[in-house]
């Protein structure tokens, strides 16, 4: 167990007094490494809460720079940082909040060439990206590297949260047990056209942070095998019980996918054709 400084004992006192966390759990968080894809709507609250919780190292991958249109929901950035790489902006916010946290930045796209090597260094992965090709790539890479993946996604006023860890939960599915491959182009809203209620990202991302911390501490009930669906307009949570698909192309009995594949970015195709 880590020898806490006096400042750490004070900073984490509300965790340490929880029997489920305690000094041991807090120590574990300080020694944990989490990799996040996306420093956007979901990544913002995730990074904030993981940093506040004292997760020892947070890796953040995002190739974009902060844009004015991000600030309606991407609360880790601010107006003074417009034009700055999002990962740098996130680093500044996190370090101002909690100097205990080491921030590793990846200011480039996650691809089939680099993803496995990067996530190998981490204990857990958070998906807060904004496109299907990356979602499938991260799922597959986490499966091959046996990393727990806490996935969040949004559409307008709705959100989904689910944990994938088929390596640790024999009945637990991977993303491809839900959706074997990306949907066809015509059925994906163009990224910039798809509106989103800003505060929805806070609700969904915060649940991801909660689940990530539970996984790191190994407490409570995992969200593996359960899809939480949030409808902000109706203020309803629904829960679907998921199962591992024996026919899954990745984690099934006779997998057809034995290495990473890259799908084309539908939004980019559409933008190019406009």
């Amino acid at each position: 167990m880590i020898d806490f400084t006096e400042e750490q004992i004070e900073r984490y006192s509300r965790h340490i007094i929880l029997p489920e966390v305690g000094g041991e759990g807090q120590s574990r968080l300080l020694e944990s490494k989490v990799f996040m894809i996306g420093a956007g709507g979901l990544g913002s609250p995730v990074a904030y809460y993981l940093a506040a919780a004292g997760v020892g190292a947070i890796g953040i991958a995002d190739a974009d720079v902060v844009d004015m249109s991000n600030l309606q929901r991407q609360i880790i950035h601010n107006q003074d940082r417009i034009g700055m790489p999002k990962v740098e902006s996130a680093r500044e916010t996190i370090q101002a909040l909690n100097p205990d946290v080491k921030v590793n930045t990846y200011n480039y796209r996650i691809t089939e060439e680099n993803v496995r090597e990067i996530i190998r260094e981490y204990d857990l992965v958070i998906d807060g990206c904004d496109n299907f090709p990356t979602r499938f790539l991260i799922n597959d890479a986490c499966f091959f590297e046996k990393k727990t993946l806490v996935s969040g996604a949004m559409f307008r006023f709705e959100g989904q949260v689910v944990t994938f860890k088929p390596h640790a939960d024999a009945k637990g599915p991977c993303y491809r047990c839900l959706y074997p491959e990306p949907p066809p182009a015509g059925l994906v809203p163009s990224c910039s056209e798809a509106g989103i209620l800003g505060a929805l990202a806070g609700a969904v991302g915060t649940i991801q942070a909660v689940e990530a911390i539970k996984e790191l501490l190994d407490i409570g009930e995992s969200l593996s095998g359960r899809l939480m669906i949030f409808d902000a307009l109706r203020m309803e949570w629904k829960k679907l019980k998921l199962h591992k698909d024996p026919g899954c192309p990745l984690c099934g009995e006779n997998p057809s996918l034995t290495e990473l594949v890259t799908y084309e970015e539908v939004c980019e195709i559409r933008a190019a054709g406009q």
Partner: protein, 79 residues
């Protein structure tokens, strides 16, 4: 009646989030989908996961009876 719940783009396509389909003798999940795809032809190309009474299933022969709830959930990509 069978309660059908639609989410995300599927709800937008249908213009409804919740539908009721009259139950028939020995009805299956495939019958429900046929019925919906006739009502909303754009659903034919859509990708989604299916759940009967909050339990994921990919078995189209699953029997559906009055009072059952069928959820049709597309993937979301926004982050």
């Amino acid at each position: 009646m069978i309660r059908v719940l639609l989410f995300g783009m599927l709800a937008d396509m249908a213009g409804e989030r919740e539908l009721e389909v009259p139950g028939k003798e020995s009805m299956t999940l495939a019958d429900i989908l046929d019925h919906l795809q006739r009502l909303f032809p754009t659903m034919n190309d859509a990708m989604f996961l299916l759940a009967v009474n909050q339990q994921q299933t990919s078995d189209m022969n699953t029997t559906i009876s009055n009072g059952d709830e069928v959820a049709i959930m597309p993937p979301f990509s926004g982050g």
